[in-house]
């Protein structure tokens, strides 16, 4: 088809210049069609790092990004003119901050996120105020400077000489399909976070164990900022616009050293390979929107037995609603199969809330009777599950009451009225004959 298209263009545009513009335009359109199947987040990554040596110390992590098609550019955090935005255009789709410092205005990062881009921030115990500010804008509070997560029971024996700040974390958050279970323990050294609980936007990805706490290793403990299972090591935030941010209190978590390490938890004689590689990969896949992205398309609704949406529904109509919901699995849009997606039919308040039944091929459907309340109603799907992007579907339709001729016609109670009216009519008709044509004898 493509060559014949070009042929037509050539015939239609004999001028050479015109021809090339049209061809390039066509190429653009064709490539736009191909791009329809690309990942929701983009592939241009800016990595802002403490020093360029991170390219070798964290080579496995960055290599895995490049293998997944990302183009990573590195900048040192101390640079004053990091070209995140040029002439109002964002130069990157994803931002990785592997640094304890950030020298650009905090607002830049927040603007970047507000416009739907993703940020992976890993820092350490020496983080500066700017990183702290970015975090607190997201309801994540990092503990004081120079404090570490310490665990005297779940630490790696290679830190026997140190202050037991090389902690072994073994309970990463599991969300099937998005964060698969990491069975191997994860090494972490860095600063703790305190995050808002029960938030719809923020949730922990990795927490410490009961015996852990966050404190300066060489100062006596009088007060605790965070301790026990509430000590968050890595947290994830999904903004209302589905932009994602991950905060890690440890840069080393992503390092070749930790990835290649064999974990020997104090007291365990067995050494096991660390789960850092798997964890880091899953974190980057999530934050760069390779996983847990939902989209809805082909929204259809109609009366039962029909196929087209009417301009308006009448109260008590039997209504059928269909929508295709798909999930991005890293390569393609695959059918979504969750059974807990709900549809609301709302006018001021939801009048109907019902489950959408999936058929396993991505089609979700629901049947219900339109309420006997009229006005403008909204079909609404507001699906938010941990790790998944927010799915918001809004479709409006009017609902009207019965017309006068749509009411019940033969009401037994009203028979006397019918009888009186029709007997009058009949009487008039008969009487008209007698009145006009009767001849007295």
């Amino acid at each position: 088809g493509e060559s014949s298209l070009f042929h037509d263009v050539r015939k239609a545009n004999p001028k050479k210049k015109m021809k090339w513009t049209s061809i390039s335009l066509l190429v653009l359109i064709v490539s736009a069609c191909i791009n329809a199947a690309v990942q929701p987040g983009g592939k241009r990554v800016l990595a802002v790092v403490n020093g360029l040596d991170i390219k070798s110390s964290h080579s496995i992590f960055f290599k895995s990004l490049e293998e997944r098609g990302y183009q990573v550019e590195y900048r040192v955090a101390s640079e004053k003119n990091i070209p995140l935005r040029r002439y109002g255009e964002w130069q990157y789709d994803q931002l990785v901050i592997f640094s304890s410092t950030w020298s650009l205005p905090t607002q830049t990062v927040l603007d970047f996120v507000d416009e739907g881009h993703n940020v992976l921030i890993a820092t350490d115990s020496h983080l500066n105020q700017a990183i702290r500010d970015i975090a607190s804008e997201c309801s994540v509070e990092f503990d004081e400077k120079d404090s570490y997560v310490i665990d005297h029971i779940n630490f790696d024996t290679s830190d026997f000489d140190g202050s037991h700040s090389l902690v072994v974390a073994s309970n990463p958050t599991v969300i099937p399909g998005i964060f698969e279970k990491v069975t191997s323990p994860i090494l972490f050294r860095g600063v703790a976070q305190d995050i808002e609980e029960d938030s719809q936007l923020l949730f922990p990805l990795l927490t410490a164990s009961t015996t852990s706490y966050s404190h300066h290793p060489h100062e006596s403990v009088d007060e605790l900022h965070v301790a026990g299972k509430k000590t968050v090591l890595v947290s994830a935030l999904q903004a209302r616009n589905n932009a994602r941010i991950v905060f890690s209190g440890s840069i080393e978590l992503f390092s070749d050293k930790f990835i290649r390490s064999e974990v020997s938890r104090h007291g365990d004689s067995k050494k096991v390979a660390s789960g850092n590689e798997q964890f880091a990969k899953q974190v980057s896949q999530w934050v760069f929107q390779e996983r847990g992205i939902l989209r809805a398309r082909d929204i259809k609704h109609h009366r039962a037995g029909e196929t087209e949406a009417p301009s308006t529904y009448t109260i008590k109509d039997d209504l059928e609603f269909n929508v295709v919901i798909e999930e991005w699995n890293g390569k393609t849009w695959a059918p979504f199969t969750a059974k807990d997606v709900q549809l609301e039919f709302t006018r001021i308040d939801p009048h109907v809330r019902t489950r959408l039944v999936p058929d396993g091929k991505g089609n979700f459907s629901a049947k219900f009777k339109v309420p006997d309340v009229y006005g403008v109603f909204t079909f609404k799907i507001d699906y938010s599950r941990k790790g998944y992007s927010f799915l918001n579907v809004v479709e409006r339709t009017p609902v009207r009451p019965f017309r006068h001729n749509e009411y019940e016609r033969f009401i037994p109670t009203a028979y006397p009225y019918y009888a009186s009216a029709f007997s009058m009519i009949g009487g008039l008709f008969i009487f008209s004959f007698i009145f006009l044509y009767h001849q007295e004898k």
Binding site: S59, F160, H164, T211, H216, L224, Q342, T354, S384, H438
Partner: protein, 674 residues
């Protein structure tokens, strides 16, 4: 949050300490390329090998083979590597020929160079860029060494002037067309010159020329210092600081050794600073980086200027009677025979322990200090060591300060859980007391407490020697696994004992007012304590009075309850019998009408005949139709339709009615007249 005074002091001391290391090189690096680093590097290299023997391309294969050889490790599947390499020479450029040659000659599977290779090498020897010159010289000398090429010395020497042409005050450019210098390529140029100097015989003038180039080079003045480490960087080129630093070091060392020349810029500070940089990357995982780390460290360990020595305290902390194990090695981890003296050992309170002692030698080439034995309390100790050696090349040995951690066991005793109605911690005489027999066993009874009570946990911690031990972590944890809630209270050290005070009323919010069984645990931990533990003390049956109501936390991600619309109930209707009766009643007048009409003998004798018959029929029919239209309006038509039909019927109706009524009145008039 403001830093406490203690941490400010710590930072200050830290800064001073760092400054000291830079200004003098009394102390070398604190780590070296350990045997586990070596194992990890070898593992990483081997895991990068593909099934065909290659390590992803000719270049990486060269890096891997070189690094493995430098590490004295076997190159796995070396015949496969040779086969791959032989087949991989497709483009005859200088770099490919060099990698090809280097791999084959290193693995001993090289053969006499063919004409094509020879041609490339000859061309490279008179190239105008330092990359090709380096590749040409290196390949030529490798082949010459094994008699695999017939190349006269003078042809190799042509490269000297070509390389010299690229220099600008002892720093080289990548090629003559560049307008900037490159430290990385300076390293390559030095390596090439060094290889020539050691591979062919030079005249005294030539030697002097090379010495001048080396002597005049400002290379090391371009190093940047970062936390005591020295780094060389190329701003213009895409080469990592590690590669630049390593290349420059290898170049300096190769040329210096070949000429047996001095290079004053390479002082003790530089030796230690570069060692720090290279050792900082020793965990590198990529083949390329491992190559640069290993090559760099290898020349640092064997260079002829200054060799940094690493004095390290053995990884595992000192446990009781073991004593301190000190290792003295070069940066690659080879043990060095020296004399080690402990000049001073100080504890946490800066009190000196023991006197100046020489360390005894262990059979495994390490050194042992017995001052710190089981008598020492757990804590950090500072070890000041002096290393003396006859070899003047060793640096970083004059005054080495190392921290040693002595660990011990903590003995937790006298554990008492008290339940008091008062918050007054001084008077627990009326409190109910529960003694926990030992740390690690749980009290047999369930302790019943009221939500308004106060819980006190008292205990003592002693070291092995019986002295009071202050530990970092003394937490009392009250938790409910079912609700997933967990509250940590810190036990404070006072008058030789620890006490934690838990005000249960304050926890009501955290526990959502839930009464029931809670677990009371004590965690004792410290980095100096070997037996840090989390031990259950008792089960607490907690009763809140329930006056405050709490709702359990609601997950924001939950499914919402279903809603189904409740339709309006139809209004109640009277029974059909009643409406039927009324219907009959309503129909009665109609029946009466019919009966009256029949009774009076109603007729239609006046119905017109003749022409007017049609008019009368039309009149009656249209009247009937209009009445019927009302019926249809009720049954199925709407107002607009009805009016339309009505308009349609009205015209004939008016016409027929006018005709019929006129005819009737005319006839009546006639009758009257008669």
């Amino acid at each position: 949050m403001a830093l406490s005074r203690a941490s400010q002091l710590f930072l200050l001391v830290g800064t001073l300490f760092v400054c000291q290391t830079i200004s003098s090189v009394a102390e070398g690096p604190s780590t070296y390329f350990t045997s586990s680093d070596r194992d990890a590097a070898i593992r990483n290299l081997q895991s990068a090998q593909k099934a065909d023997g290659s390590f992803f391309g000719l270049k990486n294969t060269y890096y891997a083979v070189s690094a493995l050889t430098t590490l004295n490790a076997k190159v796995p599947e070396s015949t496969k590597v040779c086969d791959y390499t032989k087949g991989a020479l497709k483009s005859y450029d200088a770099s490919s020929v060099f990698y090809h040659t280097a791999i084959l000659e290193t693995l001993g599977c090289g053969k006499a160079a063919d004409d094509k290779v020879k041609e490339v090498i000859k061309r490279a020897l008179s190239a105008d860029n330092s990359d090709d010159l380096f590749y040409g010289v290196s390949a030529a000398l490798l082949l010459r060494k094994n008699n695999h090429i017939d190349l006269p010395e003078r042809e190799v020497k042509t490269a000297i002037s070509k390389i010299a042409n690229l220099q600008d005050e002892g720093i080289f450019k990548r090629s003559n067309s560049d307008n900037f210098v490159s430290i990385f390529h300076t390293g390559l140029a030095f390596q090439a010159l060094g290889k020539i100097a050691s591979g062919v015989s030079l005249t005294n003038e030539e030697k002097k020329e090379l010495k001048d180039i080396l002597g005049s080079s400002q290379l090391l003045s371009m190093a940047e210092e970062k936390n005591g480490a020295l780094v060389l960087q190329d701003q213009e080129l895409r080469v990592t600081p590690l590669q630049v630093t390593s290349s420059a070091l290898v170049g300096l060392a190769t040329l210096g050794k070949a000429l047996d020349a001095k290079y004053d810029d390479f002082g003790e500070t530089e030796a230690v600073g570069f060692a720090e940089t290279l050792l900082g990357s020793k965990d590198a995982a990529s083949v390329e980086d491992i190559f640069y780390v290993v090559e760099g460290l290898n020349v640092l360990a064997n260079n002829q200027y200054h060799r940094p020595l690493v004095v390290s305290v053995d990884q595992s902390s000192v446990k009781g009677a073991d004593g301190v194990k000190v290792r003295v090695t070069d940066v690659m981890g080879t043990p060095q025979r020296v004399k080690v003296t402990a000049t001073k050992v100080t504890g946490a309170d800066n009190k000196a322990i023991g006197s100046k002692t020489d360390l005894a030698t262990n059979p495994d080439d390490s050194y042992r200090l017995d001052t710190l034995t089981s008598k020492a309390e757990p804590g950090f100790y500072e070890l000041n060591l002096k290393v003396s050696s006859d070899d003047k090349k060793y640096v970083g040995i004059d005054s080495v300060s190392r921290k040693v951690k002595v660990v011990g066991n903590a003995v937790v005793s006298d554990i008492v859980v008290s339940v008091s109605q008062s918050s007054d911690s001084d008077d627990l005489s009326v409190a109910k007391k529960y003694k926990v027999s030992s740390f690690g066993t749980k009290h047999k009874d369930t302790i019943s407490v009221n939500g308004k009570d106060h819980l006190f946990v008292d205990f003592k911690i002693k070291s092995n020697t019986g002295a009071n031990l202050k530990v970092h972590q003394t937490f009392v944890i009250l938790s409910n696994a079912e609700a997933g809630s967990e509250i940590v209270s810190v036990a404070k050290f006072e008058n030789g004992a620890y006490r934690a005070h838990v005000t249960l009323a304050d926890l009501e919010d955290d526990f959502y007012g839930k009464s029931g069984n809670y677990e009371l645990n004590l965690v004792v931990g410290d980095s100096f304590v070997e037996n840090s533990a989390n031990s259950p003390l008792a089960t607490i049956n907690l009763k809140y009075d329930g006056t405050r109501k709490f709702s359990a936390p609601i997950s924001p991600f939950r499914e919402l309850p279903e809603i189904s619309h409740v339709f309006q109930e139809p209004a109640a209707r009277p029974s059909a019998v009643v409406s039927s009766a009324f219907t009959l009643a309503v129909l009665a007048p109609f029946g009466l009408l019919l009966m009256v009409l029949l009774g009076m003998g109603a007729n239609i004798n006046k119905f017109p005949m003749g022409v007017n018959f049609i008019n009368a029929v039309g009149f009656q029919a249209t009247l009937g139709a209009i009445l019927a239209l009302f019926g249809f309006y009720w049954l199925r038509l709407n107002m607009v339709q009805t009016l339309g039909y009505f308009a349609f019927l009205a015209i004939p109706f008016l016409y027929f009615s006018q005709k019929t009524l006129t005819a009737l009145s005319v006839k009546e008039a006639q009758v009257k007249r008669q």
